[in-house]
Amino acid sequence: MHEMGIAQNILDIVVATAQKEGATRITRINLLAGELRAIEPLQLTFCFAIVAKDTIADGAFLNIEQIPVRGHCKDCNADFPIEDYIYVCPECSSSKIEITGGNELKLQDIEVE
């Protein structure tokens, strides 16, 4: 249930951002969530609805875009998607892999009124 702590962090950032721009209501939040972060979207939207109650983000739609895990092979320079968390290069079978995507947990933008 790390979703509750994450929901609270999202709320703090979006409310501060909206208020700085003089907005009175947040209607949509676009979040990028890498698969490595193990976010359960249903649980996060549920937790967010709870923490956002009676704030300017009450009722805002939390849109979660899941980012797949990607790797770069340090031996043969191949770039590839990593499936089932198996960190082996599909081209040369090397295990010297650098993670190039899937670790994000980033607020992209919000829509406000």
Binding site: G5, D12, A23, A38, I97, L105
Partner: protein, 223 residues
């Protein structure tokens, strides 16, 4: 109206973790974030570690639990400075909770600080606290498929201790399978098999700890 945010969600946590890290650097503390599921043997491992390090390196412990001070009571019996954090309903420790514990410890009298996280295989891996390394325990009674089910913690850990190895004959835990699964997730992970009951592998754990403590000291001196 659309407003660009482009902010890391956990930046507030990561900033406090960096402040903690500076405090640890100043006091030359080597810091371990110890994680596992409930009942894997974190507290008993710390009791054994306290015994084995006595007179060599000074240990300090921060214990996170949802409720009770039982773990802190067990560890402080060994004369180890111990702070208990009861997290209420939080399932992990974050950098802010650890920051609040630090003023209660004499950090300049501690060489190795172990933060015993809340028992949970998911959430603690998400929040950095300013540690040098994450260390996790997997016990043989939990099953060898756990790395594939809970990849984040195995991915983030520098060392995996396979505990309760004395019980392996009573389980269907496959040691080779467990190691292979962990290395699929994290090819560089160190693995040590231990038993806190009969002492198997504990000397290797203590060597790992002291070697990495010394590496940090060397790094600080060269900085």
């Amino acid at each position: 109206m659309k407003i660009n945010v482009m902010q890391d969600v956990l930046q507030a946590n990561d900033k406090i973790a960096e402040d903690n890290r500076q405090i640890f650097r100043k006091n030359r503390n080597f810091v371990i974030n110890l994680m596992s599921s409930p009942g894997a043997g974190k507290t008993l491992l710390l009791e054994k570690t306290a015994e084995m390090l006595a007179g060599k390196l000074r240990l300090g412990v921060i214990v996170g639990d949802v409720e009770t001070t039982r773990d802190a009571d067990r560890i402080s019996k060994f004369g180890i400075p111990t702070i208990q954090l009861t997290t209420g309903n939080a399932c992990h420790l974050d950098a802010n909770m650890v920051a609040h514990a630090l003023p209660h410890l004499k950090l300049d009298e501690i060489d190795i600080l172990v933060v015993e996280n809340v028992g949970n295989l998911v959430c603690p891996a998400e929040f950095i606290i300013g540690e040098d390394h994450k260390v996790m325990i997997l016990s043989v009674t939990e099953g060898d498929e756990k790395p594939l089910k809970y990849p984040l913690m195995f991915h983030e850990s520098k060392l995996m201790l396979i505990n309760k190895i004395d019980l392996i004959q009573y389980t269907n835990f496959n040691l080779d399978e467990a190691k292979a699964n962990a290395r699929k997730i994290n090819p560089d992970i160190d693995i040590i098999e231990i038993s806190c009951i009969n002492g198997t592998g504990l000397d290797r754990w203590i060597s790992w700890l002291t070697d990495h403590y010394q590496l940090k000291q060397k790094g600080l001196s060269n900085a």
